[in-house]
């Protein structure tokens, strides 16, 4: 049963093969069994989950069940959950019990889903390896000496090891797609504004976007049906009509025009990965898609632009963690300045402090124009690149990450190389576009993801292509050894 997708579990619950309580106990047992070795959960919500499961069973008995009612889900610890510790992977919020639910959580609760736990993550979502977490690194179930990617590393690892049938993630520069790629699961970053950011602890407000991390595209569609939509509490959420994301999953992709950016297949890409992604694209061609090479000429500017915009916003977003009202406060502050310096100095980890300092610097008087303003201009160029490309193609395909899962500690002391590994994902956030990573094969026994990028609000199309791809391939069905 634990190998089932959301779609299969939904059927199993509906046909009374299993109750939500039984299902929840099954996953809680797996969490307890494997979390010590994987470290993908910061909090396992046994009591709350069982209470939610029981109430879901009642709901189903009363005939009011929705598609995902009673199905367990793991929530990235960046989403505020009422009455449950919400740490954001930081010592700063180790003592923070959120007094309210994020919109995404509220919607899942309304859908009757069972919150089995809060997943580990890079501190404040800053990292690509899950090694910056205050709660220690997460292990990749495919090889426990490697990282799961980040920042949604706990969610990716948990879904890959089937400790949870699905999870939520957030993606600011690739934090859903890159760990999905490294852990062999499906991860969708929706269009900016498609999923409410209310209650999702902000890293970089203009880039952050929550989304599903699942075994299949079909499951991602089921989750999108629950979490997508306008939220009046989030001014940047889109008042754009919401699709039924499962409706077009099976549509033919005959004649689909796929753009292959030459910048995504050049130097810097591992040749094995290039081969696997090319094979994946050939698979799409077999399904009737037509490929053509395109150019995204400003791709090389995306990393520097991203590492100006994201730190700038984070330096301001993280100012509220000051030891005054909630979160970590240093012992015996001697005055106000001491309270600030030590609470923040002791409460934040190294990577977070690095980005706050970069951000404060690029916003400073005298540097603002040269950095922040320039980065915003580059953002326009990148957006224009994509818009020009979408005049000729329907979607863009390429690799998700430059390599497979790397060894723990391999890159943590080399932030620049860590930053550069985000090259295929960050430009999508800068442009605000939707993109999905789907398992496309293995290189040296480690999963490789293929990325599909769509135009604004074309999540349905991306899910349709990914679903057709998964109907034709088995990469997404592979289970890491020891977790079968």
């Amino acid at each position: 049963m634990h190998l089932s997708t959301l779609a299969q579990l939904s059927t199993a619950l509906e046909s009374k093969q299993i109750s939500s309580e039984e299902l929840t106990r099954l996953y809680l047992d797996r969490c307890n069994q494997f979390n010590d070795s994987l470290n993908c959960f910061i909090t396992i919500n046994k009591d709350i989950a069982l209470a939610q499961a029981k109430s879901a069973d009642k709901q189903r008995a009363a005939g009011n069940a929705l598609a995902l009612t009673g199905i367990p889900i793991a929530q990235k610890d960046i989403f505020c959950t009422k009455g449950i510790k919400t740490s954001c992977g930081s010592k700063m919020l180790d003592n923070f019990i959120a007094p309210y639910d994020a919109t995404v959580i509220e919607k899942m609760n309304l859908a009757g889903m069972v919150n089995i736990g809060k997943t580990n993550m890079d501190e404040f979502a800053m990292g690509s390896s899950n090694e910056t977490s205050f709660y220690g690194p997460v292990r990749n179930p495919w090889d426990k000496d490697t990282v799961p990617g980040g920042s949604s590393g706990g969610s990716a690892s948990a879904v890959a090891a089937r400790l949870s049938p699905a999870a939520t993630g957030t993606d600011t520069g690739g934090s859903i797609r890159q760990p999905a790629s490294l852990c062999g699961i499906t991860g969708l970053k929706p269009t900016y504004g498609r999923v409410s950011r209310y209650g999702m602890i902000a890293f970089a407000s203009s880039l952050d976007q929550g989304g599903p991390m699942t075994q299949t595209a079909e499951d991602a569609a089921l989750m999108m049906n629950v979490i997508a939509g306008f939220d009046e509490r989030d001014s940047t959420s889109a008042e754009h009509p919401v699709d039924d994301y499962t409706a077009n999953l099976n549509e033919s992709i005959e004649g689909l025009k796929i753009g292959l950016p030459k910048e995504y297949f050049g130097a810097g890409l591992d040749s094995n990965i290039a081969k696997i992604v090319e094979d994946g694209i050939k698979e799409l061609e077999k399904l009737g898609a037509v490929c053509k090479e395109i150019e995204l000429p400003n791709t090389q500017l995306s990393i520097p632009a991203y590492y100006v915009v994201a730190p700038a916003e984070c330096s301001s977003n993280l100012s509220r963690f000051d030891g005054v009202r909630f979160g970590y406060r240093c012992e015996d502050p001697k005055d106000l300045s001491d309270l600030y310096c030590r609470s923040r100095g002791e409460g934040f980890g190294k990577e977070v402090k690095r980005r706050i300092m970069i951000g404060a610097y690029v916003l400073s008087a005298g540097y603002y124009d040269a950095y922040y303003l320039k980065a915003q201009q580059i953002r326009h160029l990148i957006r224009d690149d994509f818009q020009n490309a979408f005049k000729n193609v329907d979607v863009i395909a390429g690799p998700t990450a430059t390599g497979t899962a790397f060894k723990l500690n391999e890159k943590i002391n080399d932030p620049i190389s860590m930053y550069l590994s985000d090259i295929y994902t960050v430009s999508v956030n800068l442009a605000g576009l939707p993109a999905i990573s789907v398992p496309a094969g293995f290189s040296n026994k480690l999963p490789v993801g293929m990325q599909l990028i769509g135009n604004y609000f074309e999540e349905s199309r991306l899910l349709n292509i990914a679903h057709r791809f998964q109907q034709a391939t088995d990469h997404h069905k592979a289970i890491p050894g020891g977790f079968e």
Partner: protein, 482 residues
Amino acid sequence: MEWETVIGLEIHAQLATKSKIFSGAATTYGAEPNTQACAVDLGLPGVLPVINKEVISKAIKFGLAIEAEIPPKSVFARKNYFYPDLPKGYQISQFELPIVSTGHIDIQLEDGSTKRVGVTRAHLEEDAGKSMHEGFGGFTGIDLNRAGTPLLEIVSEPDMRNAKEAVAYMKKIHSLVRYLEICDGNMQEGSFRCDANVSVRPKGQNEFGTRAELKNINSFRFVEQAINIEVERQIDILEDGGKVIQETRLYDPNKNETRSMRSKEEANDYRYFPDPDLLPVEIENSFIEEIRTQLPELPDAKKHRFINEFKLSEYDSTVLTAQKEMSDYFEACVKAADGEAKLSSNWITGELAAALNKENKDIADSPVSAEMLGGMVKRIKDDTISGKIAKQVFEAMWNGEGDSDSIIESKGLKQVTDTGAIEKLVDDVIANSPSQVELYQAAPDDKKGKLIGYFVGQIMKQSQGKANPKQVNELLSKKLKS
């Protein structure tokens, strides 16, 4: 050397909305600490601001009233600094693209002339909370009820040249925001306060001197005192060959001095940038026009109407229109007085204003309503009572003894206009004052007016003030001639 003062004001007007600028929490003043602060006001992790649309229309209303340009797009920006009563570590304000662009207002100077003062901009922002340094055993208490209260910051050009002009400007803005009903103007509660930028320069010099910013002054009197004392301080420094340093200073009304808070070197770099949590505010012309139709008659327009319609002096009209409540009172009074404007104006700006002032009351709380005062003015006008008797009537009304007609009736204050009765009084006084009569008759014509006062006084005394003074005068001059 002769010095010239240059002053610019930044006025913070709290917009009168039920809920805060970016959250649904109430803005009511004086609630128990931290009972009007929701998750958004507390800056909890994950919360987001949502603009209260009411503040947009209120700001635009102000912009239209000062004939300012309303740009089609305005942007909220974050002003980053750390302070315990600033929950998010930044204040949401406006920087590069404020909601209201350049405008102006006209102020009345003491010599009666009018001066135009430029308004550089007006922008929306949220207020911070309050730090309380006493009563917490050496700790600081934080009350976040005020955090997120909407403010309109109105920035003037450095157009004022002395403290009196600055006060006149501040009063004019105060009057305007209350006319527009966008701010309650309550200065004790901090709903209307200002920062004054003050510098001096040798008269005739074009460049401005180095300025000091006097922070958070919350009364008209303190603005005047603070500016005057600061100007004195700066001139003393310059005349001693020193240099004024650019800094923020605080005015202490108890000691009547300004004190340095922080110098420019210590000043924060606020690292402003557009708030990514809020979309730019786009304002359509049709929306501006709709708000224009809602504008009330503004003080200047009303003043000119009073001059034309009621034939009042410019001075009286200015006084009567400075406060909306005052002008409303006046118009209601005139209506009740069958159109008698001049007398109404005199009574309002004279007796009523003095009585209100004495008991420190607002005109809205006057025990004598506009209708009551108008009713009394009508009785003066139709000679039922004299102006002198009216003072007694007014006092009785003030003390809650009823309206003017019932007071006149019950106290028997009706003027004696019966010629026979008055003639008898006149005859009696003349008969009893032979020496004064002699004196009067011997006096040259230009002295006679003064001497007749004795007889009038005697008669008014006899009649307890009720004899019609006009009739008394006429009869007296006639009888004394013979």
